[in-house]
C-alpha cells in the first residue's frame, strides 16, 4: 500500500441539480490528472464488471470537479466511488462531504422522462461515498398510503406509460409458487395517476398458512410489460426504516406494506403469529 492510501480519504462534496446531474467536488490541494472511478457493487462472490472513469477538472479555487450528467447511464444498483490519484495507480475510497440533495426532496415533476434514471449520492453504512442508482423503462411512483384494519389503498402515478383498457395491478407472491392476486386500479382523468385497494382478508386468504411477501406491479394495458410499483423520486436513498407503515391483523395474519431495500413496494403477510 502506498503512503497515499494510509491517509484519511478525502471528503467529496456532492450537489445534485434540478436535472439530476451530480457535481462531485474534491477538496483543494489534490494533484491534477486525477480521476473518479464509479464501480457497480457486484453481488457477493461475483466479479465487478460495470466501471466508469470520470476525469476531474481543476476549478478556480483549486478544487477538482467532475459533473456526472445523463451519460454515462448508470445501471441499477449501488455504485461505490473511488479516487484514482494518478493514471494506472491503485484506487482509494472516498468519504462523503456535504451532499446537497435539496432539489430531489420535492422531485416530482408531473411526468418524468423515461427510461427513468434516478441517482442519489449517499453514505454507506461504513461511512464511504456511494451513489444509489435506479434505471427503469417505466415507473409507478407511490404517494400516500391509506391504511385501515381491513384494507390498504395506495395512491401512485405512472411515468413513461399511460393507462389504457384492461389495466391491472398485480401482487405477485415471492418465491416459486407464482401466485398472483389481480386488482383493478382506479385511474385518474389524466391517465397517469391511479390508486388501488388491497383487501386484507383477501390477501391473507391468498397467502394461506405459510407466511409470504407480495411484490406490487402495475400493467397499464392488456399485455403491457409489468411496472414495479416503488417510491424513488426524492432524496431518500434507503427508505425501508424511514417510511414505516402500521401492521393490520386479519384472521390471524399480520399484514404490513413496506419498502424493500430497493425502495420497491411490497406487502408482508405473516401467518401463525401468536
Amino acid at each position: 500500500m502506498s503512503v497515499e492510501q494510509h491517509r484519511e480519504p478525502p471528503r467529496v462534496a456532492c450537489v445534485v441539480d434540478a436535472d439530476g446531474r451530480i457535481t462531485f467536488d474534491l477538496p483543494p490541494g489534490s494533484a491534477p490528472g486525477q480521476q473518479l472511478l464509479l464501480r457497480l457493487r457486484p453481488k457477493k462472490g461475483q466479479p465487478e464488471k460495470d466501471l466508469h472513469l470520470l476525469d476531474l477538472e481543476p476549478v478556480d479555487d483549486g478544487r477538482q470537479r467532475v459533473v456526472l450528467g445523463p451519460q454515462p447511464v448508470l445501471t441499477e444498483g449501488r455504485w461505490d466511488v473511488y479516487l484514482i490519484p494518478e493514471p494506472g495507480s491503485g484506487r482509494q475510497r472516498l468519504r462523503p462531504g456535504p451532499r446537497d440533495l435539496r432539489t430531489l426532496v420535492d422531485g416530482h415533476p408531473p411526468d418524468r422522462q423515461t427510461p427513468l434514471a434516478v441517482r442519489i449520492p449517499y453514505a454507506t453504512l461504513d461511512g464511504y461515498l456511494a451513489v444509489r442508482a435506479w434505471l427503469r423503462p417505466a415507473h409507478a411512483e407511490v404517494g400516500a398510503l391509506d391504511l385501515t384494519d381491513r384494507s390498504m389503498t395506495v395512491d401512485a402515478r405512472l411515468h413513461g406509460a399511460t393507462f389504457q383498457e384492461g389495466a391491472v395491478v398485480r401482487l405477485r407472491r415471492r418465491g416459486s409458487s407464482g401466485t398472483v392476486l389481480t386488482l383493478e386500479p382506479e385511474v385518474a382523468q389524466d391517465g397517469r395517476g391511479f390508486s388501488f385497494t388491497v383487501d386484507h382478508g383477501e390477501l391473507a386468504a391468498a397467502t394461506g398458512t405459510e407466511s409470504g411477501v407480495w411484490n406490487a406491479f402495475v400493467e397499464p394495458a392488456v399485455q403491457a410489460p409489468a411496472i414495479r410499483i416503488a417510491r424513488l423520486l426524492d432524496d431518500v436513498a434507503d427508505r425501508k426504516d424511514v417510511y414505516v407503515y402500521p401492521t393490520a391483523t386479519v384472521d390471524g395474519a399480520v399484514l404490513r406494506p413496506y419498502y424493500t431495500v430497493d425502495n420497491d413496494l411490497s406487502v408482508e403477510v405473516r401467518t401463525g403469529v401468536v
Binding site: 451532499r99 440533495l101 426532496v105 420535492d106 461511512g127 400516500a144 426504516d241 424511514v242 417510511y243 402500521p246
Partner: protein
C-alpha cells in the same frame, strides 16, 4: 497557547460534542489544540474532526468495559453528577494521570464532573476553565453543593446563556472566578442557505423525553390535516424512538412525519427544509436552533429555559411558544406554513441574526478568557477581582444553606430507605 479540552465522549453525537469540536477547530487556527475523550466506544468520531486537532481517548470501552477498576465506583467524579454511573475508579485514575502530566497552558472541562476533576487535579501552573453546557437551576442540590466547593478552584467558568451566568453569580459564591456566558458557535455553513420553498419542517436532536418530539408530532397533526403536502422530518436516535413511531401510527401521520435516523453533520438536512422546530421542555442552549437559523430557517421553538429565548427573536426570525403547549406550537407552525412571504422573510432574518454565533466573535471571546486564565495562573492572582457586596454574599449563602438542607434531607431519606429493606 497549548489548549486541552476534556470531554465525556468525543465519539458520540450531541450539542456539547458539536460545539467542542467547533471551538477546537477554530482555536486550532492559531493554537495547539487537543481533545481528551474520557470514553471511547467506536473507531472514529461521528462528527468530523479537523486533522489539526488531536484526539486522545483515555478509556476504550471496546476493550476495557470489564476492566476490574472500571467495575468499581468513581471517587473523584462527583456522585451526584448525571453520568456518575459511566465513571469509575479507572476513569478517576486515567483522568488524574492525564491532568497530572498535561503539557497544556490551559485545560477546558466540558461537563460538571469533569470540571471537578479539573479543579482538584490540574497542576498549579495550568489554567482551568470549566464549561457548563447544562444549567445551575436544573442541577440537583447535592450536585450544586459539590460544584460550589470545587468551582472555587477554577479560573473561569463559562455558561452558554446569560441567564445561567446570572444564576451562577447570584447563587454560587465563587470569589475570584470569572463567570461569563460564552455561547456555542456554529461554523459558517458550506452550503447555500435554504430558500424557503421546501414543504418540509425539520427537527434534530437525541430522541429523549425532554426534547418533547411527542409534542411536536402532535402539533404537526394540525399542519398535516390542512396541508398534506408538508412533511415533518425528525433526525436523531434514542430511547423514545419506538414510542414516537407508535404515536405517528396512532395519529395516522405515516405519510407526513418521518423518523429519519441520525445525521451528522446536519447541514445538508437543514437546507432541505424551510422551517426548523424545537419542542423541548428544557434546553440549556439550543445548538440545533442556531444550526437551523444559520442555514436560513426560521425556527419555531418552545420558550423553555434558557437557550431559545436568547437565540430567537419572536416574530422576527422565528417564533417562541409556551412550553408544553401543543396548540400554540401547532398554530405557530401552521402560520409559517401558510404564509410563504413571512416564512421567507423570517428565514432571511434568521440567517442574518444567527451571524453572532459564527465562530469569529465567539472564538475571540474564548481566546480572551483563555488568556485571562493563563495570565492569572502565571501571576498567581485570581482571574476575576472580587467585587463582593455584603448583599450578594448573603444571597449566595442563602442558596448554599438551602442546597445543604436538601442534600442532608435526601441523605436522610436514603438512610430511611435502607432501614426499610
Amino acid at each position: 497557547m497549548k489548549i486541552s479540552f476534556l470531554i465525556h465522549n468525543a465519539y458520540g453525537i450531541g450539542g456539547t460534542i458539536a460545539t467542542t469540536f467547533n471551538l477546537a477547530h477554530a482555536l486550532a487556527e492559531r493554537h495547539e489544540v487537543e481533545i481528551v475523550s474520557v470514553l471511547r466506544h467506536r473507531e472514529r468520531p461521528n462528527f468530523t474532526l479537523d486533522p489539526k486537532v488531536s484526539l486522545r481517548p483515555l478509556v476504550d470501552l471496546r476493550q476495557e468495559k470489564e476492566h476490574p477498576l472500571h467495575l468499581r465506583p468513581a471517587r473523584v467524579f462527583p456522585r451526584a453528577e448525571y453520568r456518575y454511573r459511566q465513571y469509575s475508579e479507572l476513569t478517576d485514575q486515567r483522568i488524574g494521570e492525564c491532568l497530572a502530566t498535561i503539557d497544556a497552558d490551559v485545560v477546558i472541562g466540558t461537563r460538571p464532573g469533569l470540571n471537578v476533576h479539573l479543579a482538584l487535579q490540574t497542576p498549579r501552573h495550568v489554567g482551568r476553565i470549566g464549561q457548563e453546557h447544562l444549567t445551575l437551576d436544573n442541577h440537583p442540590p447535592r450536585l450544586r453543593n459539590a460544584l460550589r466547593r470545587a468551582y472555587r478552584r477554577l479560573d473561569v467558568l463559562t455558561t452558554v446563556t446569560e441567564a445561567d451566568a446570572a444564576a451562577y453569580r447570584r447563587k454560587m459564591r465563587l470569589p475570584g472566578v470569572r463567570v461569563e456566558a460564552l455561547p456555542n458557535s456554529v461554523p459558517d455553513p458550506a452550503l447555500p442557505a435554504a430558500d424557503g420553498t421546501a414543504k418540509v419542517v425539520v427537527a434534530a436532536g437525541r430522541l429523549v423525553p425532554v426534547k418533547r418530539y411527542d409534542l411536536l408530532i402532535q402539533a404537526f397533526a394540525v399542519v398535516a390535516a390542512e396541508r398534506p403536502d408538508w412533511q415533518l422530518r425528525i433526525y436523531g436516535k434514542g430511547e423514545e424512538h419506538d414510542r414516537l413511531r407508535q404515536l405517528i401510527v396512532d395519529l395516522r401521520l405515516w405519510n407526513n412525519v418521518f423518523l429519519m435516523g441520525a445525521a451528522a453533520p446536519m447541514e445538508a438536512e437543514w437546507v432541505k427544509g424551510s422551517i426548523g422546530a424545537a419542542a423541548s421542555n428544557f434546553e440549556p442552549f439550543g445548538m440545533t436552533i442556531v444550526e437551523a437559523m444559520r442555514c436560513g430557517l426560521p425556527v419555531v421553538s418552545t420558550d423553555c429555559p434558557y437557550g431559545p429565548g436568547e437565540i430567537i427573536k419572536d416574530g422576527v426570525d422565528g417564533r417562541l411558544v409556551p412550553v408544553g403547549d401543543r396548540d400554540a406550537l401547532g398554530a405557530a407552525l401552521l402560520d409559517l406554513v401558510r404564509d410563504d412571504d413571512r416564512r421567507r422573510r423570517m428565514g432571511r432574518a434568521a440567517l442574518e441574526n444567527a451571524g453572532r454565533f459564527a465562530p469569529g466573535p465567539v472564538v475571540e471571546q474564548a481566546e480572551r478568557l483563555l488568556a485571562e486564565a493563563v495570565t492569572a495562573r502565571q501571576a498567581g492572582r485570581p482571574a476575576a477581582q472580587e467585587r463582593a457586596r455584603a448583599g450578594r454574599v448573603l444571597v449566595s449563602q442563602g442558596f448554599a444553606a438551602r442546597d445543604a438542607a436538601f442534600g442532608a434531607a435526601s441523605g436522610a431519606l436514603r438512610i430511611v430507605r435502607k432501614g426499610q429493606r
